[in-house]
């Protein structure tokens, strides 16, 4: 019971922190580009404003359009409950593993893409098509990264992986980790629509992917979707952080451990945020048809991660 409430609290923490991470990256990027930029917490005001606005819905849209944001948000939150952020759940860990997490995120994307088609707008269709293409092409990398982690841990459950890595720190320097991490990082960028795959801050019709898909959403629905994608991004980075470099995470529910876990998470996420911001400042968006090249590069990394692990053993 204690664990359940801890999991719920941890999930809520992720949900609350996620927009902050996006805001933080925006702020760092602005700084790197010598702009003042909005403060990191600006995004919370935006969400609040959106929740207060009215919803405008296309006449051609069906119930699916109305349901999709809820499902997208729901899947992200459920995934948040699976990822060890501050502490590693034990009993609850069995609810879902990495595959479940990935497929849950895919479920959300699936509905969002359908919603993109539902209004009959060419933008929506274009966005859905591109989004599904990118997602489909990232799947092999994701699966192999999971494999790379699972190979050394023997399990795909997140808690188990983190625990094993903690117990055997040498693993973190094994090929699975060294090669798998960049692969997963690229995939995380692709899945959450960051540069160089997609530009979250553009609305230029020919280049946008995710934004095109959600073009018809407004008000609280848009807020849910933005929030969900922020959460997804947060979770992907947290996964990369806590599975490859789990140190600091709490293995019990003792308050001190939890505090240390929270601090470790904050530090790790801040580092990753800086990394993302630096990256996004330095690279330009890839042409859509160059994206598969990047994804195949990440696939090869993941493949090498798995193969070398199997060979080295």
């Amino acid at each position: 019971m204690a664990e359940l409430s801890a999991v719920v609290a941890q999930t809520l923490l992720a949900v609350m922190l996620a927009p902050g991470l996006v805001g933080l990256i925006r702020w760092i990027k602005a700084r790197l580009q010598s702009r003042r930029g909005a403060p990191p917490w600006q995004i919370y005001f935006e969400l609040r404003k959106l929740f207060a606005k009215e919803i405008v819905i296309s006449r051609t849209a069906s119930w699916l359009f109305r349901a999709a944001p809820l499902i997208v948000f729901g899947t992200s939150v459920v995934v948040a409950s699976l990822v060890p952020l501050v502490f590693i759940p034990v009993a609850f860990d069995r609810t879902g593993d990495l595959f479940a997490a990935v497929y849950l995120l895919l479920l959300g994307t699936f509905f969002l893409a359908l919603a993109g088609l539902d209004t009959g707008s060419a933008f929506g269709g274009m966005g859905s098509s591109r989004e599904m293409t990118v997602v489909a092409l990232t799947e092999p990398t994701v699966a192999l990264s999971i494999f790379a982690l699972a190979l050394t841990a023997g399990s795909t459950n997140l808690g188990v992986i983190a625990t094993r890595t903690l117990a055997d720190p040498g693993m973190a320097l094994g090929p699975a980790h060294v090669l798998g991490f960049p692969a997963l990082f690229i995939v995380a960028l692709a899945e959450s629509g960051r540069l160089p795959i997609d530009n979250p801050s553009t609305h230029l019709e020919l280049t946008m992917i995710h934004e095109a898909m959600v073009l018809e959403y407004s008000g609280p629905y848009l807020a849910l979707i933005e929030w969900a994608s922020a959460l997804k991004f947060f979770l992907l980075l947290a996964l990369a952080a806590n599975l490859f470099v789990p140190w600091g995470i709490a293995q019990s529910l003792a308050p001190l451990d939890l505090l240390a876990g929270f601090a470790a998470l904050t530090v790790k996420m801040a580092i990753l945020a800086v990394a993302v911001a630096v990256l996004e400042t330095r690279v330009a968006k890839l042409r859509l048809f160059r994206v598969p090249e990047l994804l195949s590069a990440s696939f090869v990394l993941a493949l090498l991660a798995v193969m070398s692990t199997m060979f080295v053993r």
């Binding site: 009215e54 919803i55 405008v56 819905i57 296309s58 006449r59 051609t60 069906s62 119930w63 699916l64 499902i71 729901g74 939150v77 459920v78 860990d93 069995r94 609810t95 879902g96 593993d97 595959f99 479940a100 497929y103 849950l104 895919l106 479920l107 699936f110 993109g116 088609l117 539902d118 209004t119 009959g120 707008s121 929506g124 269709g125 274009m126 098509s129 591109r130 599904m132 997602v135 489909a136 092409l137 990232t138 799947e139 092999p140 699966a143 192999l144 494999f147 190979l151 023997g154 399990s155 795909t156 188990v160 008000g219 609280p220 849910l224 048809f289 598969p292 798995v306 199997m310 053993r313």
Partner: protein, 677 residues
């Protein structure tokens, strides 16, 4: 312990199917023929289901038969064990809704057609059931052929057009190709003496040399692979399945091709006993290629039923990945991990049967309302056929392997099997397993993309044609049938952990599977190999439901005040269906990415105004994807046969002298033979 005598359920099932067949033939009216066929098939499949469940629950095989029939060839012998019962259950679970659906679906057909349709449908179900119950070679082959022949005629029911004829011919040719390999395979197994029951074959297999066992295995892969639709033997599948009436397509895609899997499992695991690593490796490779190519070609289809047919190729591939990986594990002696793989492939077999049948039935409803299979002519059906749309969506989510439905559970188990395979320190596996994982993952990602396209273009946005605009909801019987299958998808997904023990039971006693290894504890969690990984679809579903509900509470008030308006069109007023994204456009990025594979034939015709080439009158763009490997594999064969035929025809040149010369030559040849020997 076996059940002797003819069990009541078996008798009722047989009687149901046969009575349904005859009653349909004798029926006076269209209505009579439809309902007689449906009633017979429903009774038959219900009874068969009872029988299957009985065997699965008690674990005691059922023996029966009429050895006097065709006694020279071995007689008709029925023996239903766990594995057979599992597949019999699949036949019945899909057979029942298909029969009910058919009654409503075929209402527009002429009475004559309906009679043969009803007859053949019942025979089809009967044949498939017989295959699962067969206790010896003859019975198996008889059931197999009844199934093939009946389905062939069912394909040909919607007659006339050359396309259907060609589809039928491809189908029956590939089917017969399978039989041509099936017979020698069985006879090789039985050639070392003894009878031809499966128990005898098991003994016979033990006496074969390893080389012969390999030959048997290869024959089995080709024979059953051609039925299951394994690439490159799948060519009949995208042709025949769309041509059949939709409830028949559901049965063919959902059930019949699974009997190819049944045969493969029966022969490789039960009769041959498994245990050879490269067998598993071959199946793993074949499965991966099938899965990936199946989904890639599905993506390029905008014929809804052909799309679904290609997805059957994909899913058969996934099943074979699971089975192949399990065989590899078995070959290395990792019995309990292998068991998870075998169970995974069986589970996916069952799951695919449910959601593919559901999708075909859904496609049939759409087809019946819009009179087209072309997705580009559909759209907007979600408001016109809301229930069909919802049910189709359930199928789409399930087939895309998204949690918490059943497709996810079985694919998860397949992944876990591969993970267990990766624990074996062998260089060939170090290459093979990651490749299989990558292909499987890519497959499932593409499948999701494909079903976004299939569902989105078919059901969402505005109708793209007049017919689609005037579509109405399907009749109750059809919706009820789909609802049955949709609930099966949900139940199997949420109750996956309850289903897995049943799968172990079905596998009990096959190959090296011991009853002890097969024991599994039903709980909320599905277990991976070695009890290291867990997932709980019901818990995931519950938490998802809670969050969605909370989210709904948050937006409920705003939603109540939502303003309806036109879709934003960059300022342009008036949304038309021509502005919508088409199925081809949707798949365009992936077509470009995989252009090497597709090798599309593109044709762009621009006709300009005579005055100036800047005034364009019309642009026609066509792009077609023809599977080139069909051309590489099948065209030479067909061409070779035709060339051989042309040569042989020259023998019959018309000249009597030539003919007499043949006689003389034959005589001299025979005499020469005598002289030499």
């Amino acid at each position: 312990m076996t059940t002797r005598g003819v069990p009541l359920a078996l008798a009722v099932a047989t009687a149901g199917y046969l009575a349904g067949a005859v009653a349909a033939l004798l029926a006076r009216s269209s209505r009579g023929a439809r309902w007689a066929a449906a009633a017979g098939a429903s009774l038959g499949s219900l009874a068969a289901l009872v029988l299957a469940v009985q065997v699965l629950v008690t674990g005691a095989p059922v023996d029966a038969g009429i050895p006097g029939l065709l006694a020279v060839a071995g007689g008709v012998v029925v023996r239903l064990d766990g594995l057979g019962a599992f597949f019999l259950a699949i036949v019945s679970i899909i057979g029942l809704p298909a029969a009910v659906y058919g009654a409503g679906y075929s209402a527009d057909e002429t009475t004559g057609h309906l009679r043969s349709l009803g007859f053949m449908l019942n025979m089809f179900l009967f044949g498939m059931s017989l295959v699962t119950c067969a206790g010896n070679v003859l019975t198996f082959v008889l059931g197999w052929e009844v199934m093939s022949l009946a389905s062939y005629f069912l394909v040909m029911v919607e007659t006339g057009d050359p396309e259907t004829q060609s589809a039928g011919l491809w189908y029956i040719a590939m089917t017969h190709f399978g039989l041509v390999l099936l017979l020698p395979m069985f006879f090789l197994l039985s050639s070392s003496g003894g009878g031809a029951s499966f128990a005898d074959l098991r003994l016979g297999a033990g006496m074969l040399t390893p080389a012969m066992r390999n030959v048997v295995f290869i024959l089995a892969v080709l024979a059953f692979g051609s039925k299951a639709g394994v690439v490159p033997l799948h060519v009949w599948l995208p042709r025949a399945h769309p041509a059949a009436p939709s409830h028949v397509s559901a049965l063919m895609s959902g059930v019949m091709i699974k009997l190819g899997i049944y045969g493969l499992v029966r022969v490789t695991l039960d009769v041959l006993g498994g245990g050879v690593v490269w067998w598993g490796g071959l199946l793993l490779a074949v499965g991966s290629v099938s899965a990936l190519l199946g989904v890639l070609y599905a993506l390029m289809e905008h014929d809804l039923k052909r799309l679904l047919a290609y997805h059957s190729v994909e899913n058969i591939g996934i099943i074979l990945i699971g089975f192949g990986a399990a065989l590899v594990l078995d070959g290395y002696g990792l019995r309990s991990a292998a068991l998870v793989g075998f169970a995974a492939s069986l589970f996916h077999t069952l799951n695919h049967a449910c959601f593919k049948a559901l999708l075909f039935l859904g496609a049939g409803s759409v087809l019946r309302q819009t009179h087209t299979r072309n997705m580009e002519q559909m759209g907007g059906l979600i408001t016109r056929m809301p229930q069909t749309a919802l049910l189709f969506l359930v199928g789409a989510v399930a087939i895309a392997a998204l949690p918490p439905l059943n497709g996810f559970a079985s694919e998860w188990m397949v992944f876990q099997t591969l993970l267990a395979g990766a624990q074996i320190p062998r260089p060939e596996l170090a290459v093979g397993i990651p490749m299989a994982v990558g292909m499987l993952a890519l497959t499932s990602g593409l499948a999701a993309a494909c079903f976004v396209k299939a569902f989105g273009v078919t059901f969402l946005a505005m109708p793209r044609s007049e017919r689609a605009a005037q579509a109405r909801e399907a009749p109750l019987s059809m919706r009820a049938a789909m609802a049955l299958l949709a609930s099966a998808c949900v139940v199997l997904g949420l109750g996956a952990s309850m289903t897995v023990p049943v799968l172990y039971r079905a596998l009990e006693g096959l190959g090296g599977v011991s009853p002890a290894a097969a024991a599994a504890t039903p709980g909320l969690w599905v277990e991976g190999a070695g009890r290291l990984a867990y997932v709980s679809p019901p818990l995931l579903a519950a938490s998802l439901a809670v969050v969605v509900f909370l989210g709904w509470l948050a937006v409920r008030r705003a939603l109540g005040r939502a303003r309806l308006t036109d879709t934003w069109g960059c300022g342009r007023i008036g949304q038309t269906p021509r502005m919508e994204y088409t199925a081809s456009a949707f798949a365009e990025p992936l077509r470009r990415v995989f252009a090497e594979l597709y090798r599309p034939a593109e044709d762009l015709t621009v006709s300009t105004h005579p005055e100036s080439r800047y005034f364009i009158r019309s642009i026609t763009y066509t792009s077609e994807v023809h599977p080139w490997f069909e051309a590489v594999i099948y065209d030479p064969i067909i061409g070779g046969v035709r060339r051989a035929s042309t040569e042989v025809r020259r023998l019959q040149g018309g000249s009597a002298h030539l003919y007499l010369l043949y006689v003389v030559a034959a005589l001299l040849g025979a005499l020469g033979w005598v002289w030499w020997s």
